[in-house]
Subunit: 247 residues, 2 copies
């Protein structure tokens, strides 16, 4: 039996069940810590620190961005040199705390697109934690420009959960910016990550993904996996990630 | 430069700095998750699941017990068969949540010493998370009996941070129960773990410890390690534990 690719709706449902006090009672702090650690482990197993030390970690304003902040901290502990790009910091308390933890490790934190583009020119690798499984088009500014810069950089990209800009349901699709006051919208580039880290279970939109594919988030209870027929593979040893066969 | 063995007072100070919103701003949820994961990893690296599947996880009422609950959950994810013994459940909210997470994985949870002793007879290994770095003698009931049962079982013991009952400052010392109403106290056995998992930094009391010794808690910022001259070793790869040279 092969692994199940789950819908956006089921991904949200599973997240709710993991955190509900009536069911699995995990805190967001716990799940984000383990998810971000998974991302840092998958990145390390894909690109050794000796050749890919300088990692640009791009964080969106939601929980996906929080996973990125946790990953950046663990990458620092793994002796990478992460830089965080965070154009729209989330305002949840947990987001502020995760950001502070990174600041206290002296991880550079960029907010301006120009600074980010400059630093991208001297980076080895990108961790894309911009949009997660709640993503709905169109793309808001400045993320259209950010996605174009990622694509044009020619650097390898590790995407978290869903490559940013891809449809969670249908994968890479023509993508546009939000309409401006004159009702005009512009096309947005879609990125093509070398590595993908699916969290909990892969999403429908990455069914045709051809790159290196990891599964992370080793916290899904067997009963939950069985309830939704997730058919998760065995994780090896003490790892927080398991590699999935290439499509 | 060799690793620093820290005092009880400094251990408390470091914990406070890690969690203060003025300094490193970690949540207890995050630190406990990573500490418990370290313990589960060290146990797995010391005793493979193929030969030591049935693990009795003994939890005290404090944060050390919380680490034990997290470790039990990760051991379950690593395909061990943990049983939790918890004679005095802590009443902090986080403790209740960690316990619920284990209950929802159908990990057996024992509260009675008699049940515990019976189950110990069919266990392969013990994880000792009873007393942590805040321990002060004398020993309260029923932990005198619990320590004796652990010792008499002849099973290998993995202790978290400080072997339960050892002085955090002076190591194994003559130990007594709390005085009863007649002013009488009884001697308490001290345990002799095969494996020790020190968290953050080893404590003064384990300087003479001769068994296999792991360091876990890969979250100590360099600036904090430097401030207190901890001289922490490098952790390998993506591991959450590093083995220390034997004394």
């Amino acid at each position: 039996m092969s692994i199940r690719y789950i819908s956006q709706k089921l991904a949200q449902q599973i997240d709710e069940e993991l955190m509900s006090s009536n069911t699995y009672a995990f805190s967001l702090d716990q799940l984000m810590e383990l998810a971000g650690l998974s991302c840092a482990q998958a990145l390390t197993k894909s690109y050794p620190v000796s050749s890919h030390k300088r990692v640009m970690v791009c964080c969106g304003p939601g929980n996906q961005g929080g996973d990125g902040l946790v990953a950046a901290r663990h990458l620092h502990m793994f002796r990478y040199e992460p830089t965080i790009f965070l154009p729209k910091p989330g305002n949840k308390d947990i987001y502020q705390r995760l950001l502070k933890q990174c600041q206290n490790l002296n991880i550079p934190i960029l907010k301006e697109v120009e600074e980010f583009e400059k630093k991208l020119g001297v980076s080895d690798l990108i961790l894309d934690a911009i949009f997660g499984f709640s993503f709905q088009p169109p793309v808001r500014k400045p993320f259209d420009r950010v996605l174009r810069s990622l694509k044009n950089s020619g650097l390898p990209i590790v995407s978290v959960d869903i490559p940013s800009g891809w449809s969670v349901t249908d994968g890479p699709q023509p993508l546009y910016t939000q309409e401006d006051e004159q009702g005009k919208s512009e096309p947005v580039e879609t990125i093509d990550p070398e590595v993908l880290v699916s969290l909990t279970a892969p999403k429908e939109g990455v069914k045709g993904y051809k790159g290196r594919h990891w599964l992370g988030g080793r916290f899904v209870p067997d009963s939950l996996a069985e309830k939704y027929n997730l058919n998760l593979p065995e994780y090896p040893g003490v790892d927080q990630v398991v590699e999935l066969p290439r499509a």
